[in-house]
Symmetry: C2
């Protein structure tokens, strides 16, 4: 990959973390797919000097393309277009046809705010229609146009693609940016690069490091592949990037990992456990599922229903925090809770069976635990969780977990485990 | 603020977005609280040259302090310590006492993995104990030590603070880093800076821009304050940073915003709607709450229970995707669904009342809508949502929403609206 690119994410709210950046990673993935080598992302606040410094650095680093996100709003602290104009030595001019098109968009949008300040709207409108001379306009998705701004004639340097901050505007604008003439000219000579991902669950990261060394010992030239491993939500991801002609080598490497970790490797095609479980449930035959959760407080149901079409197989769920709710909504006998405590194997199983029975599903998932930070005891410390999955014909899987970390981490990790347990139980039956 | 700092976040998994970075924003906030001017965050992959280039740039930009996160793991692709050693012209040496301390940690950790590869563990151990000569060691939280690495004697340049990637290790290590002698020396002359936040709900961003202009017209010298506004999850945040002696000016500005937006300003102290609702529920008197949700599929319950201590007031929730579940678990009459459809004002109200009754709570929240991408009709398009909040004494609030965006955005925004509606209803009763 000989064409290099950088990304500049602007916005004090992103720099300080009030808003998590999704644009840098998303654009990175698009660049990779196009065969452009994305070297780094610089996050800066709304200070023009800092934005300019980032552009100058990436230019000095040899980037042929720079993507910016953010700073195109109607307010005075949104300055990206002006800074990019300065960087490319281009005058800022009002584009009249664009001005009229934004006016039309604004008339439609402000219809729902009857008391809106028209002077404020007009000022923002004019600002958003003021662009570096000679820039290619990317039509607004919201009210801000994107821009593709090449260096001035006769000067070398990066072409800058200026995109809006909201992902819901940036994403639909990408296609127009990538197919614009200055973008194509700047990325001439790019070479597509392949990327593949293996996902494992229930294995420490050091085992993967050992497998990589073993692969080399076995004679696989894996230094020809760009392999990175990372631990994420309790799963390990092995991501490999390689030139298209290294595909046979990658296939051999993937086989090597599969042979050494057949029990824990669950995804070889990039699919997540969420997607895999959805596919398993959709059948055939279609299997319905229901959840009764205590410490995860709705997260298991929320993650199951995150996938479009989940209404076909998710019967529903109950969040049963109190003991009374456990009995009333999930049919857990009060005496059972009395005898074993709300956080116990018996109650997890009763929740799973109760979810199934009460909601009329074929699969029931039950979760109970101590998410903390309070509520732990010596016998049942914070992080103790019981998960159960129950099938209509009596098949049952139960796990006890002792999880480290914060309330949020414990709830999140428990949710992941519940999905894996359910998928594993279904897979074992399909074999 | 005269002392400048930069942050370098390393890791291909972060650059490409498989893992969302939380360290950059978190460290940014710590630096601000210390009075250090955080200029930019550079995100780079696991390539040593790219890490080095980022360090060199931030040094050239005049940073007296650089924080790095990530790249301290036991695997060979974790290279940050070595690169920082090179950057500071320091030899890499094995610190024997550290080596022994990591060994002890590993013995404890690997006890739960009986079949673990001991040679792999030993190699990773030695790597993690190899540090730039003269660095201050920050004791490992996991197995990786942090490092504070000053420039070599007699040379100017930034001190580099090397921290591990997992937030659960980085956060507890910060205190030791910030109180280390080289950190204090590098940040001499810093000036603490105040930050305050206003949050508004139910108002377009352009109205805030107009208010800022009106404040200037009214004679407030708000250019002395660093004000940024941003739209987040349907709420608008106005964040202001100012030198301590500008506090009276900020107070005047905050009063100006409050006077102009009394209906929509809900937070002047940085609290979130989640925290405010929790405080309202905790009373006195304590008020219990229950949820019956369809399109949000558990998200409202999950967000309510995210707050520690939620078990004191959250009775529970039901996720009722199917019509049968709506009737069985939330007591919505089948005839009502038949007559008005599952997505209707009547069913939202019945869900809210049902949640309250079935779970024995004083407050019931009901949500039903079309999250998409499928399932929309001309009469009930994707994004149509009904929310209802019902109190035991008959008080009721209902809202119809037509939300734009993806399934995820619609579910998320609906959850925010449900929390705001509930808090508003409780506040109105308290007045």
């Amino acid at each position: 990959m000989s064409v290099r690119a950088g990304i500049v994410v602007t916005g004090t709210e992103v720099l300080t973390g009030r808003v998590a950046d999704r644009n840098g990673p998303w654009c990175s993935e698009q660049l990779r797919a196009l065969g452009v080598d994305h070297e780094s992302t610089v996050v800066v606040g709304d200070r023009p000097n800092d934005i300019l410094a980032a552009l100058n650095w990436l230019a000095a680093e040899g980037c042929a393309l720079i993507i910016t996100s953010g700073g195109l709003g109607p307010t005075a602290d949104d300055l990206t277009a002006t800074v990019v104009g300065e960087f490319q030595d281009r005058l800022m001019v009002v584009d009249e046809p664009l001005h009229l098109r934004i006016t039309a968009i604004l008339e439609r949008l402000t219809a729902r705010w009857p008391s809106v300040d028209q002077a404020a709207i007009a000022a923002g409108n004019l600002k958003q229609a003021t662009i570096p001379e000679g820039a290619t306009i990317l039509e607004p998705i919201g009210t801000a146009p994107g821009l593709v701004v090449p260096p001035p004639a006769g000067r070398d340097g990066p072409t800058v693609v200026v995109l809006p901050g909201p992902p819901s505007e940036l994403v639909p604008m990408w296609e127009a940016a990538a197919s614009s003439a200055p973008f194509i000219a700047a990325t001439e000579g790019r070479v597509a690069i392949e990327q593949a991902m293996l996902r494992l669950f229930g294995i420490p990261e050091s085992e993967i490091a050992a497998t990589l060394r073993a692969a080399q010992t076995a004679g696989l030239a894996i230094d020809q592949l760009e392999i990175t491993t990372c631990l994420r939500r309790g799963e390990i991801e092995i991501v490999t990037r390689y030139a298209p002609d290294q595909r046979p080598l990658y296939d051999e490497f993937a086989r090597f990992v599969a042979e050494n970790h057949s029990e824990t490797l669950f995804s070889v095609d990039g699919t997540t456990i969420d997607q895999q479980l959805a596919a398993l449930l959709l059948g055939p035959p279609l299997k319905t599922i229901a959840v009764a959760e205590s410490c995860t407080g709705g997260l298991v149901a929320a993650r199951l229903t995150e996938i479009a079409g989940a209404s076909d197989y998710v019967r529903g769920g109950v969040t049963v925090y109190s003991n009374a709710a456990k009995s009333k909504l999930a049919g857990v006998p009060a005496a059972l809770i009395e005898r074993h405590g709300a956080v116990s194997e018996e109650v997890a199983v009763a929740l799973a069976e109760g979810a199934r029975t009460v909601l009329g599903a074929e699969i029931g998932v039950g979760v109970t635990g101590v998410a903390g930070p309070g509520g732990g005891t010596k016998e049942k410390p914070v992080g103790l969780v019981w998960c159960a999955v129950s099938l209509a014909d009596g098949d049952l899987a139960v796990r006890r977990l002792q999880l480290p970390g914060s309330r949020q981490l414990i709830r999140d990790r428990t949710t992941t485990v519940a999905l894996h347990m359910t998928a594993r139980l279904l897979r074992e039956r399909l074999r």
